[in-house]
Every structure is written in C-alpha cells, then in structure tokens.
C-alpha cells in the first residue's frame, strides 16, 4: 500500500536516544495505518454500516434459503393455490396462481438477481480496469484510441442495446444477460482507473520503483494498480444496484430470466393482472429490489467517504 503511507502522520520515537525535549505533539498521535483510518471513517458513516448489515442479511437469505430448500421453489401445489400472505406458517408470503411458495421464490429470485448483478459487475471491473490501466499507463495513441472507443460505448443507447443483445441472442439466458450488462457498463470504471493511472505515473513511489529497475508490467500491476482501485471499489458497489435493476427491467419486459426459474424481474412479470387481483405478489420483488438498491448505494457512499475522503461531492 505504498501510496498511502503519506496518510500515516505520526512517527514513533525512532531511537531510545530521543529525549523528552524532542517530543513534540505529532509524536503523541498514535500511528494509524491506512486501513485503520478507512475502518474508522466507514464506521462513522452510520447509514453505510446499516447498509452493510442489510446487504449481509439479503445475501444470507439469497444464499442460504435456496441452498437448503433446493428445487422447492419450482414445486407447484394444486391444493395451495393463491393463498394470501400470513395465513399459514409454512407459506408466510402466500402462494401464487399455481401454488408455488412465494417466500421460496422470492429468496431464489434474490439469489438469481444478485448473482447476475455481481457477475455483471465482475465483467465491468475486469474490462474497465484493464482498458483503463492500459490507457493510463501507456498514454499517447493507445490512450487516444481507447478513449475514442469509450466515447462510442458511452453514446450507445444502453438500455436499447442491452434489450437488443438479450432479445436477439439469448432470450431467457442468464449468461447473455450478464454479458449484455457487462459489455455496456464498463466505461465509468475505465475512465476512473485511467485518471488514477495518469496521476500515479508521476507519483514518487512509482518513480522510485522505476529507479530500482522494476519492469513496466511490475510497476503497473504491483505498484500502480492497488493504488488506483479505491474509486473502482466505489463504482463497483454502485454498479451492483444498476445491474440488478437492469436485470429486473429485462425480465419484467419478458427478455431476461423466465419461469419456472425465478428472478426479481420475472416475479413482477404478470404485473398487469396481479396488480388488479393479487397486488401482494408484487410487493415482495419490489421491496427486494428497493432494498438491494438502497443497501448498495449507501454502501457505495460509505466506501467512498472511507476510502477516498477527497472524492466526497457533498460537503457536510
């Protein structure tokens, strides 16, 4: 974590020979590493801590419930059709028109949607970080070329292009949904990493590594990359919210994941008729989406304040 050593202010008394006379105020501040500072700043951000807990609970439900119950979310039962919520202990969320347990379906849908969200963000980070690092590290015509490519992707009408990719190349396929969201969403991460790399090129520790004879790949990957990742972590956290919403929108329109599989979007799909007759069926996926979006965005805000306080847009 070379770049952050400047953040650590105090220095310990270096030799026993130091007398009390030399002891000024700075020396009394305990040494705090970068990560200790990050943690304390994050904990001060109350909403972010709540969001972290919320995200942990959502992930826990999404991972544990479907794993324990297996394929039960697909099982329909003709004797238990259209039960309203809170009527029986076994089906607390009620059942849908073919008797599937809505609690299990919601949990499974959260798993599918969060999985798609995280995988899409993984692609976004992979493409964005590599292209941004290459552009920022080499500069010159490589940078120019890559940035023109970024301009093109930025000008794509993103939602229509995602719709087109999924609709034409793989209706109902989670992989295609992930790829479509990933391929259209990496520009922000790319520009952030590029900007960091451009700044870091002249940083003292990079010069030092160069002077020590480190080769270019080592400088880029071992020295510059870790220092450039803070804004990407923030963008990736916020990106999870966007990707989950994009998947839900696709499945809602009938192009993403389709029944009997469950995703937050396809639980909303029978929207028009459910809204009239059994509105509670729409409450679960809606609440789940809103909670995921809120948790991810507060987590992102908290991480931004903690990892890089200078980036803060809003002054408190």
């Amino acid at each position: 974590m070379e770049p952050f050593e400047q953040v650590t202010t105090g220095t310990r008394l270096s030799t026993p020979a130091d007398t009390l006379d030399n002891l000024d105020e700075v020396d009394l501040i305990p040494v705090r590493t970068y990560w200790e500072l990050v943690r304390s700043r994050f904990i001060q951000h109350r909403l972010a801590v709540i969001a972290a807990f919320l995200m942990a609970i959502l992930l826990l439900i999404a991972i544990v419930v479907p794993t324990v119950t297996g394929d039960a979310y697909k099982a329909s039962s003709l004797t238990k059709v259209m039960q309203p919520p809170f009527q029986s202990l076994t089906t607390p969320f009620g059942t849908n028109q073919i008797g599937q347990d809505m609690w299990l379906r919601t949990a499974k849908a959260m798993q599918t949607s969060l999985f798609i969200g995280f995988m899409a963000v993984a692609i976004i980070v992979l493409i964005g970080v590599s292209l941004g690092a290459i552009a920022g590290f080499f500069g010159g015509w490589i940078d120019n070329l890559l940035m023109r490519f970024v301009d093109i992707v930025l000008s794509l009408p993103v939602f229509f292009v995602i719709l087109m990719i999924v609709g034409f190349l793989g209706k109902g396929s989670a992989t295609v949904v992930i790829i479509a969201i990933g391929l259209t969403g990496w520009t922000l991460a790319c520009r952030l990493v590029r900007a960091e790399f451009l700044k870091l090129r002249e940083a003292d520790f990079v010069q030092a590594a160069r002077a020590l004879g480190a080769n270019r790949a080592r400088i880029a990957v071992r020295h510059m990359l870790p220092a450039a990742l803070a804004p990407v972590v923030v963008a990736a956290t916020l990106g999870i919210a966007d990707s989950v919403v994009a998947e839900a929108a696709l499945s809602f329109l009938g192009f993403g994941i389709s029944p009997p599989d469950a995703s937050l979007g396809n639980l909303l799909k029978n929207f028009q008729e459910d809204l009239q007759i059994r509105p509670w069926l729409l409450v679960y996926p809606s609440v789940a989406i809103v909670l995921i979006v809120l948790a991810a965005s507060f987590l992102g805000d908290g991480l931004r304040d903690a990892l890089d306080p200078r980036q803060r847009i809003e002054k408190k």
């Binding site: 023109r148 490519f149 301009d151 093109i152 930025l154 000008s155 794509l156 009408p157 993103v158 939602f159 229509f160 292009v161 719709l163 087109m164 990719i165 609709g167 034409f168 190349l169 919210a241 919403v245 839900a248 929108a249 809602f252 329109l253 009938g254 192009f255 979007g265 909303l268 929207f271 809204l275 009239q276 509105p279 729409l282 809606s286 989406i289 809103v290 979006v293 809120l294 965005s297 847009i313 809003e314 002054k315």
Partner: protein, 325 residues
C-alpha cells in the same frame, strides 16, 4: 462558438459509425434473416433464393453493412431508407415517424416537470440545510432514486388507478394515450399523461434535486456570496441573483445525462402504461425479431444521446462566460 459546434458535430461522425458497426454486428450475430417468414411449404426454394438476392443477403457482410449505412442516412428523401418491417411490411421510416411525437411528448413533459420541481426543491434544501424541510427532501430523494420505474409505475397504477375508484377526482387513466372517441381533446391527453410522466420523472426529480442541493451548497460557500452580502444586498437578491444563477450551471450537464436515461426509461414506462411510443415499439419489435425496426430505434437512440451531450456542452458555454471555446 460556431467553430466549436462544427468541431463537435464532426467528432460525432466517427462515434455514429462506431454505434452503427456495433448495432449492425449484433443483428448479424442474431439467428434468422428476413426470408425466414417465407420459409413454409408453399413457397418454393427458387422464390426464397430470389428473395435472398433481392435483399442482398448473398453479398459479403462488409458490403451489406456499407449499403445499409449509406441508405440509412438518406431517410429524408427515401421512404425505404431504413428498410421494411419484417412484421407488417411497412417502411420503417413511416412506422417510426408515427411514434416519435408521442415519445417526445412523454419525454419532454417528464424533463419539464423534473426541472420545475427539482430545482426549487434542491434550492430549498440547500438554503435551509439541516432543517426538517431539508431532511424530508433528502430522504424522499434517496427513496425516489432507489425506486426503479417499473416498481414506481406499479405503485402509481395501484394507488391512482385501482385503489382510487373512477368516481374520485384523484383517479387517473392507467392505459393508452387518449380515451376512445375523444381524439384531439387536449385535456384528455394531459389527463392520460399524469401517471406515465410521474413514473418517468420521479427518479429524475430525485437525482436532480440532490445534485441541485449540493451545487447550491457549494455556491453558497463562495467568496462572492459573502462579498455580495457584505456590501449590503438583500438576502433574496444574493441568493437568487448571485447564488442560483451560478448553481444552475452544473445542472445543465445533467441534461446530457437525463436524455438517454429518459429514453431507456421510456421503454419500460411506455410498456407499463401502454403508451404508444418508440420505447413500447422497441420492446414489441425485439419480441417479434423485427430487426430493421430495432436497428433504426437503436440508431435514433444513439443520435439522441449525441445530440443531448452536444446541447449540454453548448448550453454550458452559453451560460458560463468563463468557458471559452
């Protein structure tokens, strides 16, 4: 200024070519071609082969792209510039021209509503920072920002269309653009716009008001604000003449971001409220694999994004005299 605009328009050309290549490549990768709907027992293979030659499908991909691309830009003069719909055989230009006004009506109203609601809210929240008004606005903005349009649209439909009965004045129509038999009645159209425009605008209002608030807070800390107050100007004058004008400058860049997101939002909002616009047509055309229509809509979307950014940049220069081109 004029040279700047010309330079920006010229810069847009390679971007447009890039967008065309990407969209064309996606359609090329998609299974099926325009002759598929003729492939039944009653159509002879000879006829199919003739059709393939007619459509130019036997030519190399590069040549196909070139002829599509050059034809595409002749749309002001040729009805067949964008090809014919696979579904009903009508010229795509004609189909799209019908839908553009209704989508613009929806998007324009949403943009207008966003601006006139979000700017005052943001200013109020900034001026009365930490007051209850600020807290309510900030909280609502956070919630509004987390509500995707399909969730919000459902909520609005449920409350104002289903729960509140038709006898109440708060009951709004939930489907379509006008009541049958009442075509051209402006009041009726406005009435139908209430729910779709709200569902499209609320997320934008949330984003804009947060942005407006932080922009106003930043301006209020500037030295020129203190100077204005120190020389004895009344508070409102300082706030609106010195503060608001400067705080509005960064909001203009939001225009460039809002237009594409409104366009994407229109696809969902129009589908929910059966609003007969471009977004609804895009969704239907993807469902029916109507490639020419989808391709044209994606191109229009790309042009809209580029124009939105151009307008934002040019306005920025016009409003802020510190920026020189």
């Amino acid at each position: 200024m004029a040279t700047y605009v010309i330079r920006r328009v010229l810069q847009a050309i390679p971007i447009l070519i890039g967008i065309s290549i990407i969209s064309f490549a996606i359609v090329q990768a998609a299974p099926g071609d325009p002759t598929d709907r003729f492939r039944s027992g009653r159509v002879s293979p000879q006829v199919i082969a003739n059709l393939i030659r007619l459509y130019g499908l036997d030519k190399p991909v590069l040549e196909q792209f070139f002829s599509w691309f050059t034809a595409f830009w002749q749309f002001p003069f040729r009805a067949d510039a964008w090809g014919y719909s696979f579904v009903d055989g009508r010229p795509v230009t004609e189909k799209i021209a019908e839908k553009i006004p209704t989508t613009l009506q929806l998007m324009g109203s949403a943009l207008f509503v966003t601006a006139i609601i979000a700017v005052p809210l943001g200013v109020l929240a900034a001026v009365k920072q930490y007051s209850w008004a600020d807290k309510i606005i900030t909280t609502l903005a956070t919630i509004g920002y987390a509500l995707p349009s399909f969730v919000l649209g459902g909520l609005l439909l449920y409350i104002f269309y289903i729960k509140i009965g038709p006898s109440s004045p708060l009951h709004f129509p939930g489907f379509g653009r006008q009541t049958l038999g009442k075509s051209g009645d402006i009041g009726d159209i406005l009435w139908h716009m209430v729910l779709p425009v709200s569902s499209l605008a609320i997320q934008q209002i949330a984003g804009w008001s947060r942005y407006m608030r932080s922009s106003m807070l930043e301006v209020m800390q500037q030295d020129y604000m203190r100077t204005a107050r120190a020389k004895g100007l009344p508070g409102t004058k300082v706030l609106f003449k010195h503060g608001l004008r400067n705080a509005l400058i960064p909001v203009i860049t939001l225009l460039g971001l809002t237009i594409p997101s409104l366009l994407g939002g229109a696809a969902i909002t129009e589908s929910i409220f059966s609003w007969p616009g471009l977004g609804f047509m895009a969704v239907q055309s993807v469902t029916t694999n109507d490639y020419p229509v989808v391709l044209a809509i994606v191109m229009i979307g790309g042009v809209t994004v580029i124009i939105g950014n151009l307008i934002a940049d040019v306005l920025y220069g016009l409003v802020d005299p510190r920026i020189k081109y």
